[in-house]
């Protein structure tokens, strides 16, 4: 296939090198049409480049290189997160399913298939969604890494939820190789009135490209809590594409600590009236660290609510990026949109780059956005120290307090406690 002439030579080369390294698109039954059209998108768009407007704060090189940069394995001394939560665990090591370490995927009202397992079939329910929501999310901004994922994904889960799941489905991503380059693609369909909580944790691979497409029918609910661990050298580009029906609920929270490069994109379409979408993130970055939250929420129905709450604590030269957009279409009256992104810079070397955007075509809407960067509150710090709390502990208390607003977005108390405990543990260990 000829590369489009409007792409720069550099972009064509990067894209060709990456596609070459991946080899042919995996042969597959029901998903082949989606894969080949996704591959077309990649070639048309070209992979991201530092000069792209959408990547001006985050250098995409590590995510687009032909091969993944080796990432030293990180010894985790923590007890695994969500350990106290009764859940159905599915374990992937370097992007490969580990049946022995996983639970039986038996859960009333939930059918779970794995992409690799059903790839050869001619027909599968996921055919109507695989690459479909991703393709919808390519406009008005191109997301070529997601298209690349659709074309080349080798593994993932296909979850069809028909009732209220009694416990969360938990995807655990471990890694054992310094060079694994994993491409995971999940599809989740939640039928009308059904509910699912999905948990994700772990570094997954030296480099991870992950897409999750979530279709939430009328009156259905999807809760998502994710912890991207302290693994220093891994890199990740993740996308969530969600489509919300009438009176449906989507709530996603992500905790990120360290990781050299993380780009989390979340693309949400509110297509049914009275739907609610909340996206939140808490991030703790130290040193050679870049964390990018890029969110795009489209209001295309009446009386919907969307909320973005992102908090980042940065030190020792860490960089935080936030690009958040709320697009309110002409007929999306009574939209209630809220967006806040804040950073706490613990020293002068760290930086926070934010680009909040509103684009509104309806006339009866309430949208607000705010973005701040600040140092630690010296008065509060002195107050704590004057009571005998050492400076490090006092800074941690104020750090946790700063992140609390994002963590509070998690509806389930037990899951919120897991996140807070993890944060406390990380902060305490860093101090000693």
């Amino acid at each position: 296939m000829a590369a489009p002439a409007q792409l720069t030579r550099q972009k064509q080369d990067v894209t060709a090198a990456r596609l070459d390294a991946l080899g042919p698109v995996p042969a597959s039954g029901w998903s082949s049409a989606a894969r080949s059209s996704a591959l077309d998108r990649v070639v048309q768009q070209g992979l991201p480049h530092a000069r792209d407007e959408y990547w001006k704060f985050t250098r995409p090189g590590g995510l687009t290189d032909a091969m993944a940069a080796p990432a030293a394995l990180f010894r985790v001394e923590d007890t695994p997160i969500f350990d106290r939560i009764d859940r159905v665990r599915l374990v992937f090591v370097d992007g490969v399913f580990d049946a022995a370490a996983s639970d039986d995927p038996e859960l009333a009202g939930v059918r779970i298939d794995r992409l690799s397992q059903v790839a050869g079939a001619d027909i599968h329910w996921a055919q109507g969604l695989y690459g479909v929501l991703e393709a919808r999310g390519q406009s008005p901004v191109a997301r070529p890494l997601a298209a690349l994922n659709t074309a080349h994904a080798t593994e993932g889960v296909l979850i069809h939820v028909t009732g209220k799941a009694q416990k969360p489905v938990s995807l655990v991503y471990e890694r054992s190789s310094e060079t694994a380059d994993a491409i995971l693609h999940h599809v989740i369909r939640i039928d009308a009135g059904a509910e699912l909580t999905l948990l994700e944790n772990g570094p997954a691979a030296a480099r991870l490209n992950k897409v999750m497409e979530v279709d939430i029918a009328d009156g259905a609910a999807f809760h998502h809590v994710r912890a991207q661990g302290r693994d220093h050298e891994r890199q990740a580009a993740t996308h969530i594409f969600a489509r919300l029906g009438r009176e449906s609920v989507f709530k996603s929270f992500t905790l990120t600590a360290n990781g050299r490069l993380t780009r989390n994109e979340c693309v949400i379409e509110l297509t049914g009236d009275d739907a609610v979408a909340h996206v939140a993130g808490a991030c703790v970055g130290d040193g050679d660290f870049l964390h990018d939250d890029t969110v795009f929420i489209t209001h295309d129905a009446v009386n919907c609510e969307s909320r973005q709450v992102f908090k980042k604590v940065l030190r020792n030269g860490a960089t935080g990026v936030f690009q958040g957009k709320i697009l309110v279409k002409k007929d999306a009256q009574k939209t209630d949109g809220y967006q806040i992104s804040q950073s706490l810079l613990l020293d002068g070397d760290s930086q926070f780059l934010a680009k909040p955007e509103l684009e509104i075509y309806a006339d009866d809407v309430a949208c607000s956005h705010g973005s701040t960067s600040g140092a630690i509150d010296e008065d509060a710090l002195f107050y704590l120290r004057s009571r005998g709390v050492p400076e490090g502990t006092a800074t941690d208390l104020l750090t946790l307090a700063f992140l609390a607003e994002a963590v509070q977005e998690i509806e389930d108390e037990a899951l919120a406690t897991e996140i807070v405990d993890r944060l406390e543990g990380w902060l305490e260990r860093r101090r000693t």
Binding site: D377, E378, D379, A380, F382, Y383, L384, R385, S386, R387, G388, V389, P390, E391, T393, A394, L397, L398, L400, A401, F402, A404, E405
Partner: protein
């Protein structure tokens, strides 16, 4: 107990001398009051003693039972037994009052090589102290000082004092912003802590507070120095005649 000799302090960022050779000694078991007009350096004295940044000590010394306070970090001064009740207690959103109190107490205990208090013991201990100050469970759960009224904030300061049990307490205009009932409550809280081993330095503009917390010694401070020292009658004199006579006499 607290011994300040010829203390000289200027602002770190400005060429402005605030304390100009201050001498003061507070003995264990005694309550000393400092009164003085605005701008005399009273609050600066309390901040410098407790270790707040932004000041530079250019001369003199301050010791607590012989230990050089000025060499210590703020948290070390607290662990050594110094406590400042703030004129304007700081609001800390997101940090629960109980978490704050427990973290502070256990940090001090740890610094002194004592065992940390268990969560259960601590809860019992705080509830008892809070009850006397009419601080309810709700206030203990809320974030530190957030949404507290002026009176609640000051009661919370005294609660911290009661929980941390410092040897040397400095009260910086604790009466400001208090109504009569709140002042009584706060004063009762302070008086309950008076004992032979504990010293108090009460900074105030008004004699009114000293009706409730009876001082042993009253100092008048002006222009960065103690200009007159006397008994409780000195406070009454200020209340009646103002500072003019005393300041004129000092000159």
């Amino acid at each position: 107990m607290l011994k300040i000799e010829n203390l000289q302090v200027k602002l770190e960022d400005e060429d402005k001398q605030i304390l100009k050779g201050l001498d003061l000694e507070v003995e264990a078991g005694k309550v000393h009051a400092i009164m003085g007009p605005n701008g005399s350096g009273k609050s600066t004295l309390s901040y410098v003693l407790s270790g707040k940044g932004g000041y530079e000590v250019t001369g003199g010394s301050a010791t607590l039972d012989g230990e050089d306070l000025l060499e210590l970090e703020a948290e070390e001064r607290a662990a050594a037994g110094l406590f400042l009740a703030f004129q304007y207690p700081v609001e800390i959103p997101g940090v629960g009052n109980m978490t704050f109190l427990r973290t502070a107490l256990n940090a001090q205990r740890k610094a002194r090589g004592e065992e940390e208090m268990s969560a259960t013991d601590f809860l019992k201990f705080v509830r008892e102290k809070a009850k006397a100050l009419q601080i309810d469970a709700e206030m203990l759960k809320r974030p530190v000082n957030v949404g507290f009224s002026g009176g609640e904030k000051k009661r919370n300061e005294i609660l911290q004092m009661a929980v941390l049990q410092p040897r040397m307490c400095i009260l910086d205009e604790t009466d400001s912003g208090l109504d009569v009932d709140a002042m009584k409550l706060v004063s009762d809280g302070v008086n309950a802590l008076r004992d032979a081993g504990r010293g108090f330095l009460v900074i105030t503009h008004y004699q009114r507070l000293l009706d409730h917390i009876k001082p042993d010694v009253v100092h008048i401070m002006a222009d960065g120095r103690i200009v007159k020292t006397g008994g409780p009658e000195l406070a009454l004199e200020v209340e009646t005649n103002g500072y003019a006579d005393i300041l004129a006499e000092a000159k």
